[in-house]
């Protein structure tokens, strides 16, 4: 397994006898922290409270870094950002009751986007569980449908095993969040018996398939050898498997064009000549036409989400479908599959690369796609000479950072513009809330990403509405001097809601305009963070360059055209070949 974590003894100085002495005095909380260390946990995002006081007391003396967020939701989104860019499981601690329920959005978000998280919640003492005690919530019941697995610790002896299993489950197979609920009295219990830490993980019901079936690979090879109009759809599974090198090699070897899902961006260089752009609702015209017209669709690590497929009855009707996924339940769920391959994306690509495939001449196909790209590129019309158009802002950010920054977003218009106009040079730099579409995700996720990659430039492109959902985490930028760059594409409204109201509800802007906004520059300054404001396009480049290239945390309130819409678009219920807002370039 790729992420198998080797337990490393961290205290090697104490002699054997003394070690046992220490162990005898341990309580559950200390045992818990020790179990975390065995998983090489270096950072925890959390928020204390009554039921986790023992855990925090054990953390007090410990070198594991704990980041105190200002809201549990901030903590868990930060852990998601950390997990996305580092590939390691993000670790979260929150207290019982409201602490735990405040995590629900983040847990669901991680579940939808297959991010490895291990979430620890405090729980009231076992003696009062089930009595509606103070700050009691049935978090195991609540999170059961939104976790890959969850546990309640019922016996102190189980702590090392459960922690080990939790990390294993979270970071192998199709990754996802695992929650462990720890009652307070168990954290306080003095631990006496010895535990065999080296006991192998025994989960008979959990054996993810990593290696592809050879016969299926043979079938895929045959299909690729026959395809005159092949297309690769690369999803986040490529990133989770760290297979972007293999993907690029495979695409180049057989000269197959590549399109991405929203979450798959970065799996191939955004400037690569085989790359057609993102597909789906706000994807490029070329990508969507490629899906509609291809005769072979090779889906690697994408789950055929409805925002990608549009009307299923019109999706890739001419194509034979190969679907490579580590999760067998995704295969055939939405789109009937001709050649299913259950495997880790990297293993599957390696197996495919080993095969010699004679591919037919695909010149006509490439010509057709090149024509689409040239004739119908992404477009916007910057009519007003002074106004900043949000697409311009993203293009400037892309140019200034050379497509090499880690970029995080919330959900909505700014997310789509970023996906369209930021050309990711490398993988693991794109952090966005795809499946759940969570407002308030981007900024705390940037904090987590910056902790994971202290030397990389992290930019959080957010909307003015989403930013206000988690803006309290500005305190962390100051506290840890994190050089995160926040760019608010400020249109004083809920952009995507407004766009849909404009397009589908005859411009009835019901509760989507926000005429009163805080002064974001002052808000940043209140937290001790430097703030900039961009009012016109003429000053945009200078301010963005200065702000984005500085070593400090900054916030940029970029006032953009309010009524701009994301184009092109596949209207809900329509097929990918029925895009609106397409314009000849």
């Amino acid at each position: 397994m790729m992420n198998a974590q080797v337990p490393v003894k961290s205290r090697e100085s104490a002699p054997e006898e003394a070690k046992q002495e220490i162990k005898k005095q341990q309580n559950g909380a200390a045992l818990f922290i020790e179990s975390l260390k065995k998983q090489n946990v270096e950072i925890i995002f959390g928020y204390p409270g009554g039921a986790v006081l023992p855990l925090y007391d054990a953390l007090y003396k410990d070198p594991i870094k704990h980041i105190l967020a200002r809201h549990e939701q901030g903590a868990i989104h930060a852990a998601e950002g950390y997990a996305r860019v580092s590939g390691k499981a993000g670790v979260v601690i929150a207290t019982s009751g409201p602490g735990a329920t405040n995590l629900v959005t983040g847990i669901t978000d991680a579940m939808m986007d297959s991010l490895p998280l291990v979430v620890f919640t405090g729980q009231v003492a076992t003696t009062v569980v089930g009595t509606d005690a103070f700050q009691e919530a049935d978090i195991v019941g609540i999170t059961q449908p939104i976790t890959k697995h969850n546990y309640q610790v019922k016996n102190i002896n189980d702590i090392p095993r459960i922690v080990k299993e939790a990390f294993h489950i979270a970071s192998t197979g199709r990754k996802g969040p695992v929650l462990v609920d720890i009652p307070k009295d168990i954290a306080n219990t003095i631990f006496e018996s010895e535990v065999d830490d080296n006991a192998p993980i025994d989960l008979p019901g959990y054996q993810p398939t990593l290696h592809p079936n050879f016969l299926q690979i043979q079938k895929a090879v045959k299909a690729i050898g026959e395809a005159k109009q092949p297309l690769i759809l690369a999803g986040a599974g490529i990133l989770a498997a760290d297979a972007s090198v293999e993907l690029t090699e495979f695409a180049e070897k057989h000269n197959i064009p590549v399109t991405n899902t929203l979450l798959g961006l970065g799996s191939i260089n955004g400037e690569h000549e085989l790359f057609l752009g993102m597909a789906g609702m706000h994807g490029t015209f070329t990508s969507n036409m490629a899906i509609s017209n291809c005769d072979l669709l090779i889906n690697i690590g994408a789950r055929f989400d409805d925002r990608l497929t549009g009307d299923l009855s019109k999706f890739a009707q001419k194509a034979k479908i190969i679907h490579i996924d580590i999760d067998p339940a995704e295969i055939g769920k939405n789109v009937p599959t001709d050649i299913p391959i259950v495997a880790d994306a990297k293993e599957a690509l390696k197996a495919l690369l080993k095969q010699e495939i004679e591919t037919p001449d695909t010149l006509l196909w490439h010509e057709y796609l090149a024509e689409c790209l040239a004739e119908f590129p992404l477009w916007y019309d910057a009519k007003e000479p002074d106004t900043v158009y949000p697409q311009q802002a993203v293009e400037l950010i892309n140019r200034i950072t050379n497509g090499e920054a880690i970029v995080t977003t919330d959900v909505g218009q700014h997310q789509m513009w970023t996906a369209q106009y930021y050309k990711f040079k490398t993988d693991h730099n794109w952090v966005t809330s795809g499946g759940l579409g969570t407002m308030g995700f981007g900024f705390p996720a940037a904090i987590g990403a910056q902790f994971a990659k202290p030397d990389q430039r992290v930019i959080s492109i957010v909307g003015d509405a989403g930013f206000q959902m988690t803006s309290q985490e500005l305190a962390l930028l100051k506290e840890f001097n994190l050089p995160v760059k926040i760019v608010i594409l400020n249109n004083s409204c809920l952009g995507m809601v407004r766009q849909w109201q404009e397009t589908f509800y005859e411009e009835r802007y019901s509760s989507s305009l926000m005429p009163v906004q805080p002064d974001f520059v002052k808000l940043a300054e209140a937290y001790g963070v430097k703030g900039y404001r961009i009012n016109t396009i003429h000053e945009a480049e200078d301010i963005l360059t200065e702000a984005l290239l500085s070593d400090e945390p900054v916030l940029i309130d970029c006032r953009v055209k309010q009524l701009e819409v994301v184009n092109p678009m596949v209207a809900p219920g329509k097929g990918l070949d029925e895009m609106i807002g397409v314009k000849k370039g």
Binding site: G141, Q144, G205, Y206, G332
Partner: protein, 171 residues
């Protein structure tokens, strides 16, 4: 269509909840569900009958159930040769003058009397659900006071021969 699914699970607290919760989330309609221990300690088996619209949905159901960490094995045994049993307790209004008559209906179903009052008799019937349905239909005119069914539990037969129409009577 009706499908018979068996699920082998690790007997952990909350596992029934996980399985039924998943069925609810994916909008499956459970007709009956039974759970009990198996020959292996710590392992339980659930048998449930669900209604699904098409093959795809049942494939999805099996895959989603298999994904649960506490689930060891999922089988859709509907199309196999299986033994399927359900138990029903039926309380019937049976005044002494009618008892002989009622007993003559019960007898071919190999039901047994397990409780008797002045005017009511409780019968136990074991068999496949169709047999129990048939019994209920016959006994209904006498007045059913109370009825409870366990839901089915099922096994794959040792020899996988497709049952002929004649053999199926013997089930």
């Amino acid at each position: 269509m009706k499908r018979v699914i068996t699920v082998t699970v690790i007997n952990q607290s909350g596992v029934l909840n996980r399985v039924t919760g998943l069925l609810m989330k994916r909008q499956f309609n459970i007709e009956s569900i039974t759970v009990g221990h198996t020959e292996q300690p710590g392992i339980s088996k659930m048998t449930f009958i669900v209604h699904v619209e098409d093959e795809n949905k049942i494939e999805q159901l099996v895959k989603q159930l298999s994904k649960q960490i506490d689930v060891i094995k999922v089988n859709d045994i509907t199309d196999k040769s299986i033994v399927i049993r359900e138990l029903a307790l039926i309380k019937i209004v049976a005044p002494p003058n009618l008892r002989m008559e009622i007993n003559s209906i019960v007898e071919p179903f190999r039901g047994s009397i397990i409780d008797m009052g002045k005017n009511v008799v409780t019968y136990q019937i074991v068999g496949n659900p169709e047999k129990i349905d048939a019994f209920i239909e016959l006994i209904q005119p006498y007045g059913i006071k109370e009825l409870t069914r366990t839901g089915v539990t099922a096994f794959v037969r040792d020899a996988q021969v497709k049952p002929t129409a004649q053999l199926s009577i013997l089930q």
